[in-house]
Symmetry: C2
């Protein structure tokens, strides 16, 4: 951590008391006392580096629970490592704190980080804390290991590949509505709570992802919405894709919201924050992928295929394609 | 770059047009199309990682020139790599942009990054751009290489070591006054411009630093002020330090400001943003260090020594010690 004493609370005490314990497990963090960390090379491995920034009022609500904000920040980055087939190693955290942030808030925030460090096997290596007169601004740079030269790319999709997604799609877009409006008219509180949890706390597929790496051609994590992220895959791979809308896996809550016409299927595949994996694989790997899903307990669903051409066609059960007004994802 | 289309301007065009050229030199950035970069191991080397965040209104003025903001962001991190004796490799950039930021502003910002990439031999590897309703928030994670197990530490200072600084001390603290007030009464515009430039554009000592690594015991870059940063060295090394105030190297501009009583010597050693190196070395290395300074053209000045005890004593020419009201550094 940089030692700029530019915050009303004593940043040194803050670092020692709140963040240093998160760096204890890796001696190469030097207990955050040295303003830099070391990553020693692992034989035969590459280091994969990715980063995401989250701003209050854009990516989360300022009054979200601090541990959930911390865990979402961690998990959106873990999800990027998962898409690359990378085993989590460590992370760098930089945070700009509004002057009203309290020590209890920071302790809860750190507790959320600690919980996910243990769950995903990743450690704090360093970072910086500073003050801001604006909304809280959080940036995390995550690092992980892949076998040398074998990082899973977006650009690897091949014509004839099957297209798969993990988990269910569109839950977080609905959870955001629940977070903002308190409920979705007609939807049970059980469904609403499930969807809210899916929005607040992504479940990145890191364990599965490392097993998948040898079986797939391309992958991306679904952060901007299935439609937009598949768009990135086909664009970088210079191919097209056909998706069967009826095959897109929906949770009971999302299916109920769809029945209520609270949202359309287009909304669900355009909404962000799923943090599921989308990947493409040769059809010869269908049996292995099915077996892997059974072994790890991850839901894996084949939803379409990679074709010659460009762009993505979403077809309904009658074979009609639908058009998306906004394939990208806009935060609230 | 993450592809959240959460900014009024088209983020994709922004990435392709403005930031992707900065990533061109390193194929392992994948042209910023893959949301992650790869760092392949170098035999016998460790990767050193450090990060600093800068917020408008805290670390820079929102109306500072965009290329200077960019270069300062880069250089405060390069300065951390220099303190570690690390050769710059690459960086991850995350930025939260107020909605009023224009494409010309961004192009100037990127031009500043490009200029310092060329000067310091470092490349953009990836990152994230997002929107904010608050002040601009910039975070940079810098990575560099040291020989395995040989990163220069803060904690290595040994009793009897000489203490050195590079360049001149306190210029940036005066430059900040010039930036804020437009002038320092009585100080020539030549001096004022020199001091302002020292504040706006740090000159990190990366080339020298790699040569120093084998000759020194401990180092830190002076970002929080000489007094505070030397304090970090003695605290982590469990030693004390004695500094001769008369030996602290001052620029002509700083000396003139001191003569005018615009500031005290205590202000100059408590002010931040010098981004010079402070290091300790055994006295047996005095001839080698003097020769090295002559070779590289870097000004290296011996200002004191490491002693048994704790804390830092600053002594004037009569041997009287001075006390510092605020040894830490507070941003404006």
């Amino acid at each position: 951590m940089s030692h700029n004493a530019d915050h009303p609370s004593d940043e040194f005490a803050l670092i020692a008391g709140v963040f240093a314990p998160l760096a204890k497990a890796d001696p190469n963090s030097f207990g955050l006392t040295d303003d830099a960390a070391v990553i020693a090379p692992l034989a035969g491995k590459d280091l994969v580096v990715t980063a995401d920034m989250m701003v209050a009022g854009v990516h989360f609500f300022a009054d979200d629970a601090p541990d959930m904000i911390a865990r979402k920040l961690m998990r959106v980055n873990l999800s990027d490592l998962a898409a690359k087939g990378a085993a989590p190693h460590g992370y760098i955290l930089t945070i700009a704190l509004p002057r009203g942030v309290t020590m209890p808030w920071l302790r809860d925030f750190a507790a959320g980080l600690a919980q996910d460090q243990a769950e995903f096997g990743i450690n704090l290596l360093g970072g910086d804390t500073t003050a801001t007169d604006g909304p809280m601004c959080l940036s995390l740079t995550a690092m992980g290991w892949t076998p040398h030269g074998q990082m899973v790319r977006r650009a690897g999709a091949q014509i004839g590949d099957d297209i798969y997604v993990t988990g269910t799609i569109g839950d977080a877009a609905l959870g955001l509505i629940v977070r903002r409006d308190g409920a979705i008219p007609g939807l049970s509180s059980t469904h609403a709570e499930f969807l809210l949890a899916r929005y607040l706390l992504p479940q990145p597929r890191n364990r599965l992802a490392q097993e998948l790496a040898g079986l797939i051609h391309a992958a991306i994590d679904i952060s901007d919405g299935l439609a937009a992220d598949l768009g990135h895959v086909v664009q970088t791979s210079a191919v097209g894709a056909e998706i069967q809308l009826s095959k897109i896996p929906l949770s009971d809550g999302a299916a109920a919201a769809l029945d209520l016409r609270a949202v359309s299927i287009a909304d669900l595949i355009s909404g962000g924050d799923d943090y599921e994996l989308l990947f493409t694989a040769p059809s010869s790997n269908r049996p292995l992928l099915a077996a892997l899903g059974r072994t790890t307990g991850d839901k894996i669903t084949r939803i379409g295929r990679i074709v010659l051409g460009k762009g993505v066609v979403f077809a309904d059960q009658k074979g009609q394609s639908i058009s998306l007004k906004r394939p990208g994802y806009r935060h609230f």
